[in-house]
């Protein structure tokens, strides 16, 4: 047992339960849980609780939920959990830009279980939640110091929502100055999709700057794009290629000269904590993905926080309420007449804020700096090792250091063997690794894969990860068909996607699937 000491490969097989869809497990009459009955006196006094409700509004037939005993429900979801590879179980260097770091269990347990956070109602009087408000307030002070910004809001519940909130703030800012012609925003192709989509949703036209031949956003194109119509710029730096644009402050200066505001999407902040800040680069606003850089677990796509920071000038537009301290007490300030209002109900994902607070408290300035340095060292170490693998190309910035992630390409592998990035992606699962993330769309780098070995992973973890990719490259050169039909040791076999978008076949719920499939109709590819 144990992985091969020479090759570092494991004979992995993922749990495969051949699990039914939950509806298929229904047994009429079974109960999963019993519900409290009202006391006899209550029932007597109330009588028929639905009497006053219009018959049209009463549910005639109970919802067709499955009827399953509790143990089976538990077992079912435990099976599904075993058929998922979270960071807790795999070396998740795979998800570049996602910063899949360790979410310390001590934080998780406190945030999930302690009644002092679990059972708080958001509208409770402030004096009854001073501890929680203190945590939120102090977290704000930490992020202010880390970024150099003057104020933070934790209401946006994701990076994309932070970007959208910033676009709303830019709109309010220019409106307050009666600058009505500002109808455009500028972003770069390698910035995240939300840097384009958020402002577009807020009503802006979006100009995208493509990367030049070295992988940097073309600054002259950017300057040509600026005009009196530019409301703001939205930029990720380093971009998902891991390349830091050294001219970033030049971008900001040019934008300011044109009267535009500057937003820093810091999804990729992990390599820069304590090293470089939004403030010194001149930005007006920034956000951190607390579920990336600050250890909140990714939760299978959420509960996230897009912590939005801004300068004093823009603070008046931040969503309400804002947590403030009057010297004696923490309170929620709703008295912000120029606020854009709200982007999410209540204060946001407060249990997640507790986790970020705890994480920073465990690291301090020294720990944050060490986090940054080790994530960058890990990445450059991995870059060196991966560059040696046949078939791998590392486009752009040759000979230069990257920060915390790299976008690689299997273009050579594809040309030599026909095996592309999507094939390698599937085959990885056979070795116990999460599928890597390729790239945002459209793919500028051909056959891409983007990896981020953040500070949580040891040298040995990185070596094991590299060993798997080296092995798959070898397999591709020897037997491309084999790799193309992967995975073999995962939960299911290769999915037939070609018809998944056809209107007659779209099935996002079980009931939709049954209606379309029909009781006796065979599956399309039944052999």
């Amino acid at each position: 047992m144990g992985r091969d000491s020479k090759t570092l490969l494991r004979k992995f097989h993922e749990a495969k339960w051949d699990e039914e869809i939950i509806f298929e497990m229904s047994v009429p009459g079974e109960r999963g849980i019993l519900v409290r009955e009202p006391e006899a006196k209550v029932k007597k006094m109330v009588g028929n609780e639905l009497a006053a409700v219009s018959p049209k509004l009463r549910r005639k037939n109970p919802p067709k939920l499955p009827e399953i005993n509790q143990m089976r429900v538990l077992r079912h979801f435990m099976h599904l959990s075993q058929e998922t590879l979270g960071t807790d179980v795999t070396i998740d260097i795979s998800e570049g830009t996602c910063t899949m770091k360790y979410s310390p269990k001590v934080q998780e347990h406190l945030a999930a279980r302690h009644p002092g956070i679990k059972d708080i109602h958001p509208l409770q009087p402030a004096e009854t939640m001073q501890g929680l408000l203190e945590i939120i307030y102090k977290l704000e002070q930490f992020l202010k110091e880390i970024s150099g910004m003057d104020r933070f809001s934790f209401q946006p519940s994701g990076g994309a929502q932070a970007v959208y909130t910033a676009a709303s703030i830019m709109r309010a800012y220019h409106a307050s100055r009666k600058d009505t012609g500002r109808t455009e925003t500028i972003t770069t192709m390698f910035s995240h999709p939300c840097d384009a989509a958020g402002p577009a949703t807020a009503g802006y036209k979006v100009i995208t700057i493509m990367p030049d031949e070295e992988g940097y956003a073309d600054i002259n194109a950017f300057k040509a794009a600026l005009s009196k119509h530019t409301a703001g710029i939205f930029i990720t730096n380093p971009e998902d290629t891991g390349i830091y644009n050294p001219k970033i402050d030049e971008f900001v200066k040019a934008a300011h000269a044109a009267g535009a505001l500057c937003y820093y999407d810091q999804a990729n902040a992990n390599g820069m904590l304590g090293i470089a800040r939004a403030r010194e680069a001149g930005f007006d606003m920034c956000h951190f993905n607390l579920h990336k850089t600050f250890s909140i677990p990714h939760g299978s796509m959420g509960g996230a926080v897009g912590a939005l920071g801004c300068t004093t000038t823009l603070a008046k537009y931040l969503p309400i309420p804002q947590v403030k301290f009057n010297g004696k007490q923490y309170y929620l300030d709703y008295n912000c007449p120029q606020s854009i209002g709200k982007v999410r109900s209540f204060m946001g994902n407060t249990q997640s804020l507790l986790k970020a607070y705890a994480w920073i408290m465990q690291h301090g300035a020294e720990g944050l700096r060490e986090t940054a340095i080790c994530s960058v060292l890990n990445n450059n170490y991995m870059l060196k090792k991966l560059s040696e693998i046949p078939g791998v190309v590392v486009p752009y910035a040759h000979g230069k250091r990257r920060l915390e992630q790299v976008r690689y390409s299997w273009e050579k592998l594809k040309q030599d063997t026909g095996v592309g990035t999507d094939d390698v992606l599937r085959r990885m699962a056979d070795y116990g690794l999460e599928h890597y993330w390729t790239s945002h769309h459209p793919w500028v780098v051909p056959e891409p894969f983007t990896l981020e070995p953040c500070e949580s992973y040891s040298k040995d973890d990185i070596d094991e990860y590299v060993a798997v990719l080296r092995q798959i490259s070898k397999e591709a050169y020897n037997n491309p068909e084999f790799v193309k039909n992967a995975p073999y040791n995962s939960v299911v076999h290769k999915v037939r996607n070609s018809s998944i978008n056809e209107p007659e076949r779209i099935a996002v719920t079980w009931r939709q699937y049954l209606k379309k499939k029909g009781p006796q109709k065979p599956l399309a590819h039944d052999k």
């Binding site: 036209k205 100009i207 493509m210 002259n220 794009a225 594809k414 068909e481 996607n497």
Partner: protein, 373 residues
């Protein structure tokens, strides 16, 4: 399920010049010279590389091909049992053979026609079948300027497999370029847009879970059309360059534009089609005018590769600020940072056009991109 029909045409002399440094093999003198130099044809080998990939769907397809070196040899050497059609003079094949083969395969109703050759072969196929048949080129010649070719023979094979096994095969149009051979051998490149062939749409992510990475061309064009049409001014002439993009944009307005020509629109009506330089110059006298062009060819030309009717004089008169470039995000991304190119024949005008230009990628969606000469 009926078997899909695949047609194979190999141009046996394409690629002959490649290793010898001779540019192209059009013209009997060049072919003779190349053969004397001991050159052996590359296209058979390349064709077989593509066919090898197709072996994995051997039982699902029927192959039709021309005799001997025009496909029969290659198909049999890769273990297929093709149906042979037509006749040739072995050792002395001509462009006419290619055209006849394509026409016959069209009659047979092939689902896909794979051809191995170069720009010349693409032109022959175009002359024979136009856009009536879905085709794809296996690169085998030294000069490939036409967009109808896959990047490598293997990728031609992969694309063919995907197209023939797809439940919803999609196609798009790609350029066939006409290079002036004589000039080319003298080191000068003067290319012209010759036509368009229908090829499988490059849905390279189609089999993958996180698939659907790129919008289909059509959906993107709808956005570009909406953006352009929404901004068109009254009583202003709009000069539309060639290409499928400009044609499709106007199609959304119910206007049928020529694919290869320069057409002019005024107040939502087509007032002139396939104009030459003289006609165009006359039309714009005393009128406000704008130019709408797209990116031609894989190298990224916006002027000089098929819209020479929009001459340097006209460009100067209309002015850079009245030039609208339309292109998809994917097209710009495919340039990998290389600038858009202009080659109007006039250095001063090239300079005027160089720098940075706004590109419309859809409704509310733009890029600002570098232009060089």
């Amino acid at each position: 399920m009926r078997k899909k029909k695949l047609g194979i045409i190999v141009n046996p002399i394409a690629g002959l010049g490649g290793r010898t440094g001779l540019k192209g093999t059009d013209g009997i003198e060049i072919i003779t010279q190349a053969k004397r130099m001991g050159a052996s044809p590359e296209s058979p080998q390349r064709a077989m590389e593509a066919l090898n990939v197709l072996r994995r769907i051997m039982d699902e397809i029927e192959i039709f091909t021309y005799p001997q070196e025009m496909g029969e040899v290659e198909a049999k050497q890769t273990s297929f049992s093709p149906t042979i059609i037509g006749s040739i003079k072995s050792g002395n094949t001509t462009p006419q053979d290619t055209q006849r083969a394509a026409k016959e395969m069209q009659k047979l109703g092939v689902d896909l026609l794979l051809f191995a050759g170069g720009d010349g072969t693409a032109r022959d196929v175009y002359n024979a079948v136009g856009r009536e048949v879905t085709v794809l080129g296996i690169p085998a010649g030294v000069k490939i300027h036409s967009g109808v070719y896959a990047v490598t023979p293997r990728q031609a094979g992969e694309a063919a497999v995907m197209f023939l096994t797809s439940a919803t095969p999609e196609t798009t149009e790609a350029e066939v370029m006409d290079i002036d051979e004589a000039s080319y051998r003298e080191g000068k490149l003067a290319a012209k847009l010759y036509g368009y062939l229908r090829i499988p749409e490059e849905r390279q992510f189609i089999q993958n879970v996180k698939s659907g990475g790129t919008q289909t061309e059509k959906q993107t064009l709808q956005g570009i059309a909406a953006d352009l049409i929404g901004s068109m001014e009254k009583d202003c002439l709009y000069i539309f360059g060639p290409g499928t993009t400009t044609r499709d944009i106007l199609a959304f307005q119910g206007l049928t534009k020529t694919l290869l020509g320069v057409d002019v629109v005024l107040n939502n009506q087509l007032i002139a089609q396939d104009v030459n330089e003289t006609q165009l110059r006359k039309l714009i006298v005393g009128k406000k005018a704008k130019i709408v062009v797209t990116v031609i060819g894989g190298q990224g030309y916006i002027f000089g590769r098929g819209n020479q009717q929009i001459s340097p004089e006209i460009l100067t008169k209309i002015g850079k600020e009245n030039i609208i470039i339309v292109a998809t995000k994917e097209k710009l991304a495919s340039l990998h940072g290389r600038p858009l190119l202009v080659d109007t024949g006039n250095v001063a005008v090239d300079k005027m056009l160089s720098g940075y230009i706004r590109v419309s990628m859809g409704l509310g969606s733009y890029a600002v991109y570098k232009v060089a000469s």
